[in-house]
Amino acid sequence: MQPFHKIKSIATPLDKVNVDTDQIVPKQFLKLIQRTGFGQYLFYDWRFEKGTPRKDFVLNDPAYKNSKILLARDNFGCGSSREHAVWALDDYGFKVIISTSFADIFYNNCFKNGILPIQVSDETLQKLFSTKSEIEVDLEGQSIIVDNVPILFHIEPYRKKILLEGLDDIAVTLLHEDKIVIYERSHKI
């Protein structure tokens, strides 16, 4: 994986709660066996109607073209455990997803694919939804900078390290399992 650097981008506001992985990648695309190219199917049933982009869906708004940050509501990524959902978000270009809560398996899958899911308070999310300016995400400093004001976020130390160094989770855990447990324990909050 690529090391995770600071990300600065306009944030795409997806104003829906309980977005399940079937909305992220509908079931008809699960049969595809390659790991790449899922971006074109991201939010397919919301994004397209008979193959034509729907004007009323936020991803089709030119203002959010090239956005690398997705703002989502509560319980994002619930439902099926399909990792295709994360592959599609990544392939489309999203590197950060910010929400008040994530479904567990989806949350884990993000880290395996170099995506940073950030959990924030309702108040912070509201602030992010209402800004029109670019947002900067600094993983090293664990902060989201919006309108020059930094908002700190929490991330487990091991996961932070994996993303910052672009390490492959499988390879790392294979080599360092004892160290990870000690590291996590010493940083427990």
Binding site: N18, D20, D22, Q23, P26, K27, L30, K31, L32, I33, Q34, R35, D45, W46, D74, N75, C78, G79, S80, S81, R82, E83, H84, V86, S101, A103, D104, I105, F106, N108, N109, K112, N113, Y158, D168, D169, I170, A171, T173, L174, E177, I180, V181, E184, R185, K188
Partner: protein
């Protein structure tokens, strides 16, 4: 420690663990199916490109494979994926591959208990979110993504953060017209679809002792819909009998200590329960079935790992006997072993006399894959577990989740119907 903590402690070689601890556990069993299997193979491909040599899995005896989502092969790509799975099990020497059209096969979670693939006290992971189901066998059972399953296949280990446990103390006995499905829908309606996020939902108390193993499996199956990491029930005599009937008597049970800790304890009284339905588009969007009696339906679907076990089909037969259905109704037993028992005990005749179509075991339309998916604006009552937009077909179709009794009664009237109100 409670049962989940004790299983995770044992599997990680520790004497004590607490919620929040990170533990590396030895996995006892791992499962992939025809969606997660090809996904895992895609991860293998990525690792190979980086130079990793992958020519064996850690223990082929502990790996098992199901064909369920897209069988019978829904199209050319699905057919190709089945070939891919077949080559995978052949290459890595995996013998427990339940193949469509070759004796026993069915939905992976159903096979986990029908075939006793997982035993009490074990750590079981699967490439599917409803892996939680198998926790009713007194095991730690959790779903993983493709990369994590690939890791387990190669190393036989995985790390978990020990989850907090929510204990659901179930009292009393369910009335005849109420099933475990109603109870779990009620619970999800109360705590919400993320009410148990990264937590274990443990079910116990006198109401659980009264409940059959199959009913308990309905509870643990739907813990996923409350966002739970896992669901679990402690082993008891009923479970031992269930496993003995499947030829398994040797395993190492784990039970919680007398002073086990739980984050929170909820209590439910079975005798006060009523049939519950979850309205579109979320399992937490619950209502009393009687309050929805004006909802007109296009279809009834009785299938899935949640609602097509033998007990579920028996409940449906109780309603359909001597009656005919008023709307399109499909029944898909969850595994061949259940299909056969339904045939041997005369249930299939009752279903066919009622006008129902009986299909082969498959996840089918539960996940909107094939075999009777819904059209735009079609309204379905279903014994399945999810009703997010488009889950069973068109994104503007609607699914009401219900117990097998309510689904069958509704099939007879064409409207959402409490079984007590059926004439």
């Amino acid at each position: 420690m409670n049962i989940t903590e004790k299983i995770l402690a044992r599997a990680s070689g520790k004497t004590q663990v607490s919620p929040g601890d990170v533990v590396f556990v030895n996995v006892d069993k791992v499962m992939v199916h025809d969606v997660s299997g090809p996904g895992v193979l895609a991860v293998f491909e990525k690792l190979r490109k980086k130079g990793m040599v992958i020519d064996k899995v850690w223990d082929p005896e502990r790996v098992w494979v199901a064909e369920d989502h897209f069988v019978p092969a829904a199209d050319k790509i699905s057919a190709q994926n089945i070939v891919l799975l077949t080559n995978f099990t052949k290459q890595f020497g995996i013998k427990r591959h339940f193949k469509y059209g070759m004796g026993q096969y069915g939905i992976c979670h159903t096979l986990s208990h029908e075939e006793a693939m997982v035993l009490p006290g074990e750590v079981y992971v699967g490439g599917d979110s409803h892996t939680n189901t198998t926790g009713a066998l007194g095991a730690f059972a959790a779903g993983l993504g493709h990369t994590d399953v690939a890791y387990v296949l190669l190393n036989g280990k995985i790390w978990f953060k020990v989850p907090e446990t929510l204990f659901f103390k179930i009292n009393g006995k369910l009335p005849d017209h109420v099933m475990a499905k109603d109870l779990i829908l009620k619970i999800i309606g109360d705590i919400g679809t993320d009410g148990a996020a990264y937590k274990t939902m443990q079910f116990g108390g006198p109401g659980i002792s009264e409940m059959s193993v199959e009913s308990r499996l309905t509870l643990t199956n739907m813990t996923t819909e409350a966002g739970a990491k896992s669901g679990i029930v402690e082993p008891d005599l009923k479970l031992r009998e269930y496993l003995a009937a499947r030829g398994v008597t040797k395993y190492d049970e784990v039970h919680g200590d007398a002073d086990a800790q739980y984050e929170k304890i909820y209590e439910y009284e079975c005798s006060e329960m009523e049939p519950i339905v979850a309205k579109p588009f979320s399992p937490e969007n619950t209502a009393v079935a009687r309050d929805l009696s004006s909802v007109e339906l296009d279809k009834a679907y009785i299938g899935s790992c949640t609602g097509a076990k033998l007990e579920d089909l028996q409940a449906v037969a109780k309603i359909l006997k001597g009656r005919t259905v008023k709307i399109r109704t499909e029944i898909l037993p969850a595994a061949m072993s259940i299909f056969r028992k339904a045939m041997d005990t005369g249930l299939l005749k009752i279903f066919m006399d009622a006008g129902v179509v009986v299909g082969p075991p498959t996840c089918g339309a539960c996940c909107g894959a094939h075999m009777g998916v819904l059209a735009k604006d079609e309204i379905c009552i279903s014994t399945t577990n999810r009703n997010f937009p488009g889950r069973m077909g068109h994104v503007e179709s609607q699914t009401y989740l219900a117990s097998p009794l309510v689904a069958a009664a509704s099939a007879v009237t064409g409207k959402i119907t409490d079984p007590r109100d059926l004439k």
